[in-house]
């Protein structure tokens, strides 16, 4: 699949962010959403650009480290899963995908798609 990605880029908490447009090609439908971002990042690094920062760890849908608003939905279009369990077969060839960090004042952006969620640990 070939996709157009509109991704929120913000170098740090104080900087002003903006959307950047990228293209990825030949993505297999069996690829996970985060693997698709890995592929984008390798491309960006090869082009001498800064990779997109995003949080993740278990990639099994259990740790809660991954996040992302995808096309306006938290964790994207699939149901009952986190972003790391989302697979590209849920999208169509030629789609434009908008990827943003959590939109919430309680979770300020650290960089790109990474937000500060320490507020959670205060209320738990």
């Amino acid at each position: 699949m070939n996709l157009k990605l509109k991704i929120w880029r913000q170098p740090n908490a104080k900087a002003k962010g903006k959307f950047e447009v990228y293209h990825v090609e030949n993505i297999s439908p069996d690829t996970s959403f985060l693997e698709m971002l890995d592929i984008l990042n390798i491309n960006l690094i090869n082009e001498g650009k800064e990779p997109v920062a995003f949080d993740h760890d278990c990639r099994e849908g259990i740790c809660g480290m991954c996040s992302l608003h995808i096309n306006g939905h938290a964790h994207g279009p699939d149901t009952e899963i986190t972003t790391c369990q989302l697979h590209m077969r849920k999208f169509k060839d030629g789609d434009t995908i908008v990827i943003e960090p959590w939109r919430s004042a309680a979770f300020p952006v650290i960089k790109d798609l990474v937000v500060d969620r320490t507020a959670f640990d205060k209320i738990l």
Partner: protein, 647 residues
């Protein structure tokens, strides 16, 4: 010259721990307040230790990579935790759990530690129930159990397929209570980059704040490494992406000996690799082998038909299926230990019977169980795993069998520790997967959670007191000393070096190359040739890394490429030590399978005469051959035998 002393107490095995606890020194509450302890990691090992030591009154600092302690890799543990409760009245006992663990580890673990582990296992269950961990229960309210590999009893406690998560939330809740009380200070998104040794004792760490890049010094009277296992040296594994071997490796380079680095567990039931773009492998819990039956077709034409999608698994009649584990190991069947199950899968796939396009998959089939118990029962037991499988593979495992293949999962090797869980560096402890102590050459399922929590809740809190009782006169550790200075400088220099290379290869590209070398040569089957080749190739790749890696960004910002590069630099050294260790061990045992050493039936052939020891490696400097020490393993409570899962 290292002094290797296991410090195992005298006396009959069943009395050692009780007597020892009575003999060791303790620290008074007034003195505990003056003592600082650093804990690296907040998995089940680190979180249980930190909360318990905080509760005891020590000043604890705890560090982790994720943004909250509760997201540590332990959260991903699925199947369960063992304990010798004998709730099923199936003749389980502390001795039987001890025996199964030693045997499962192919007689390469230290008897006294394993006995203690089995002994405290029952306390863990009570403790976690008191915390409110929602273990699965029978209709009448009593705790339920299931079976795991390498055991003929049902002793595994579980919370659906999310046992690690529930246990970690329990430990995290206790930890949070201490954080609120001020006895524990938590440093999330802080990575430890070196251990500081002063006058031969562990006295602190150097950390990097992962948000700002700031390099910080932290002093303490003792340091505990609970940083997990190093399976990610293979790039693809079931470990979380941030799991790494760096803390253990830094400790090794600072003088802590590393034990049995080559003992790696390849888990038999993982979702097969789908392509070169893959970032990690997903485990399908061993608990599935309670109800799932593993098979491949008997006929090669059926294999062909499956691969070309002319047939589905369900089209192949019963008589044309080879339930090869049940065939080869009638007594344990699908519940043989992991190393045995993984090798058997490899054997069938190497013989051409693999069932997917790549030829690297076997079936795990629930049809018999669904027919017997109904879909609802299976859903209640494994619902989340089935859902995960379906999301990843797009096939419905209630209808068609799962496809699975072995993958790197766990490292039995780790920092060498004595009976007190102390490394060869005084004041430096290692707990959880980071140490080597309890699983020998192969870990049994549901025993890692048991070990991590045993170490953190019930062993370390006692043994560390004995050490610290001799340190009550030592004031707060001065972090302006030349040792801290030197360690901080080394860290900063390393980071500057990595950022200055500006080569052509992204970190992950080199990591994948390392992974391929490891999997092909230091993986499920090893030979003298493959290991010698791996050592050469890793050396060359390490040079390539230091000349050609491309690390984007700067130090003073959130920089994931830099984080990965720092970890990979260590993996590129650790991988070589794994190969050196595997080459030294001229026998097959547990997960370490040297093709030269096997029985005519293809089972691992141990050499107890020459290799009944823990291989302990001491660091000798960059690009120097490490020095080998041996801890001889003596078995007094049990008889050593060839493992037999056939009858």
């Amino acid at each position: 010259m290292l002094k290797i002393e296991s410090k195992v107490p005298q006396g009959p095995i069943a009395d050692k721990w009780t007597k020892y606890k009575g003999d060791i020194k303790i620290v008074s509450p007034a003195n505990k307040r003056k003592l600082d302890i650093i804990i690296i990691g907040t998995g089940l090992g680190g979180a249980s230790a930190a909360s318990t030591l905080g509760e005891l009154g020590y000043n604890v600092k705890v560090f982790c990579i994720s943004d909250s302690p509760r997201r540590a890799h332990s959260i991903a543990a699925q199947g369960g935790i063992n304990a010798a409760k004998n709730y099923q009245n199936d003749n389980d006992s502390v001795f039987r759990l001890f025996y199964d663990t030693i045997k499962g580890g192919d007689y390469r673990a230290r008897e006294a530690n394993v006995y203690r582990l089995a002994e405290v296992s029952n306390l863990i269950i009570d403790h976690c129930v008191a915390q409110g961990v929602p273990f699965a229960r029978e209709y009448g309210g009593t705790l339920d159990n299931r079976s795991f590999g390498g055991a003929q009893v049902s002793r595994t406690f579980y919370a659906r397929g999310q046992t690690g998560q529930q246990l970690l939330l329990g430990a995290y809740a206790s930890l949070n209570r201490q954080i609120a009380k001020g006895s524990v200070k938590s440093y999330p998104r802080h990575e430890v980059l070196d251990v500081v040794i002063v006058d031969g004792k562990a006295r602190g760490v150097i950390t990097r704040n992962l948000v700002t890049g700031e390099i910080e010094r932290h002093g303490a009277h003792a340091v505990v490494i609970a940083s997990g296992g190093y399976g990610n040296v293979f790039f693809l594994s079931t470990n979380a992406m941030n799991s790494n071997g760096s803390s253990a490796w830094q400790a090794y380079k600072r003088g802590a000996a590393f034990a049995n680095p080559c003992f790696t567990q390849i888990h038999p039931t993982c979702i097969p690799v789908h392509g070169t773009q893959q970032s990690k492998l997903t485990l399908m819990s061993e608990s599935l082998r309670n109800d799932g039956r593993i098979w491949v077709p008997k006929k090669l034409e059926d294999v062909e038909a499956l691969r070309t999608k002319k047939k589905k698994a369900s089209d192949i009649p019963e008589e044309d299926r080879d339930y090869y584990l049940e065939r080869r190991y009638p007594a344990f069947g699908n519940l043989v230990p992991r190393d045995v199950a993984s090798r058997a899968a490899k054997e069938r796939c190497d013989a051409g019977y693999g069932v997917n396009e790549t030829g690297l998959a076997v079936f795990l089939d629930f049809k018999t169980a669904i027919d017997r118990l109904g879909e609802d029962v299976i859903k209640a037991r494994y619902g989340n795993l089935f859902q995960m499988y379906e999301k990843i593979t797009d096939t419905n495992p209630y209808k068609e069998p799962m496809m699975i293949y072995p993958a790197v999962h766990y490292t039995m090797g780790g920092l060498w520790v004595d009976y007190n869980l102390m490394t060869t560096v005084p004041g430096l402890y290692a707990i959880g997967e980071a140490n080597f102590s309890d699983h020998g050459a192969n870990r049994l399922g549901a025993s890692a959670l048991m070990q991590g929590l045993a170490d953190g809740y019930f062993v370390l809190p006692y043994t560390i007191g004995d050490y610290l009782s001799h340190d009550i006169q030592t004031p707060k550790i001065d972090t302006t000393s030349k040792e801290f200075e030197e360690a901080e400088k080394a860290v900063k220099d390393k980071i500057a070096k990595l950022l200055s290379i500006k080569g052509s290869q992204p970190v992950d590209v080199i990591h994948k190359k390392l992974g391929n070398i490891m999997w092909d040569n230091v993986g499920m089957a090893r030979t003298k040739e493959s290991l010698t080749k791996a050592i050469e190739e890793i050396k060359a790749l390490r040079e390539e890394f230091w000349k050609d890696v491309k690390v984007t960004g700067a130090n003073d910002e959130f920089n994931q490429e830099l984080e990965k590069a720092i970890r990979l630099a260590d993996f590129l050294e650790l991988g070589e030590l794994m190969a050196i260790d595997a080459l030294n061990r001229n026998e097959s045992c547990g997960g370490h399978f040297r093709e030269e050493y096997q029985t005519p039936e293809g089972e691992a052939l141990r050499d107890d005469e020459n290799y009944a020891y823990v291989a302990i490696w001491e660091y000798k400097g960059e690009n120097q051959q490490p020095e080998l020490y041996k801890e001889d393993l003596k078995f007094e409570a049990i008889k050593v035998a060839q493992r037999n899962y056939k009858d």
